[in-house]
Subunit: 242 residues, 2 copies
């Protein structure tokens, strides 16, 4: 099975949570929107699915994954599907549901991180909502950031089956996403995240474990991993990092 | 199996998406936070789980569901779990994944609806973020509301298996949630939602079908269904309904 991933070029965004799972598992996949149009790639190929009248199960937005005849949207749903196939989730039903629950809470966290720079609307530039972004970021840094990180640190502490991972005995896609969120936070909010992560030794270690995985290191070294930038979810605006 | 649902008293909120599924299926459940403290209920019982040091899989926030020994958080995850047990999801794996994908997109929609009145922070009063709420609602009404409703109308149209429901042949939990969102929008944004729903005959009909179901009618008649109010997700502030 060669998976086809569709996501916006130029940013890590939500596509990166799926990429990290595929990379860690050594799965074969194509990043369709990054391929040339002549090879059936590009944003055109992505828009053909998003807007195609004949698509039975249209996704609302990227990322989405084509797996054989299946077309699957919503980041957490893609990972729910891939988890067992890539060996990135516990084997028992309760463990799978719990991992998915963590992923959904990470999705909530990611959206709040995004909205720090876009509190009014995704269709407006940051510059058009700077004052509101400042206010929202103030609230985020003071209350939401420590609340979310504290929660995940607690989850990490209470996992009796592992001293490294969030859920179950082994690495799961939720660990990959957690590490990615920490990396993103350190890029976007270096000061605030340093402060908030001080009380989270478990998450800091988890981050390091993930990014030391051989296949993840190979992915980074390949040049295919994009750098964080101010077009994505995690953006560094010093004025928001209080 | 008697399910135990935990959610904030006084509002429909996200708990209502779970309640509608339980009610439609005629499932036995207790709404724990609405029971007297003397009977082991109340907000205290809910906080004991949210903040209890011995809880292995702590939820981040209500609603959460106790099902025997399982404790499940995140609205969409609860419905993912309940769907097959309550007969509210297609039988095939692809149909289940698609239904869940729709539920996750509804969750995104619901969060954007919530943030129209709370664009800066959930810990602040509406009155403290009125100016920002007005701007965000303007964007929501102009772009996001028609975009989400248009998307779900398209999904409805493309479901070749039913002329009533969103996914598969029969009623699913996504239909119940969709109807609830329409009801909430009509309460919160009577003018804007009327306009946006004009081009969505499928969704309007789906809404009417859901609220005409015998068990849903019985639930409404029981007095247990709370009215919408300005403490919940869907709030009616005329100044935001442009």
């Amino acid at each position: 099975m060669i998976y086809q991933l569709y996501y916006w070029p130029g940013i890590q965004g939500r596509g990166e949570f799926v990429r990290l799972a595929l990379e860690e598992a050594g799965a074969a996949y194509q990043d369709i929107a990054l391929l040339p149009e002549e090879e059936g790639g590009g944003v055109t190929a992505m828009m053909n699915i998003l807007e195609g009248a004949g698509v039975e199960h249209p996704p609302f937005a990227p990322p989405f994954l084509q797996a054989g005849r299946r077309l699957i949207g919503q980041t957490a749903n893609i990972l729910l599907f891939l988890g067992p196939r890539l060996g990135l989730v516990p084997r028992d039903a309760a463990g799978r549901l719990w991992t998915h629950q963590l992923q959904l809470t990470l999705a909530d966290f990611v959206l709040e991180i995004h909205d720090t720079h876009h509190p009014i609307g995704g269709g407006l530039y940051y510059e058009e909502q700077k004052a509101e972004a400042r206010r929202r970021s103030g609230d985020f840094v003071a209350y939401r950031l420590p609340r979310f990180l504290g929660y995940f640190e607690r989850v990490w502490e209470r996992n009796a089956q592992s001293e490294i991972w969030l859920a179950g005995k082994q690495l799961s896609y939720a660990d990959l996403s957690m590490a990615q969120v920490i990396a993103g936070l350190r890029y976007a909010f270096p000061r605030a995240s340093k402060r908030a992560l001080r009380g989270c030794p478990g998450l800091r270690a988890l981050h390091d474990e993930v990014f030391a995985r051989p296949r993840i290191k190979r992915y980074f070294a390949s040049g295919r991993r994009l750098a964080f930038n101010n077009e994505g979810i995690f953006r560094h605006y010093p004025e928001l990092d209080a």
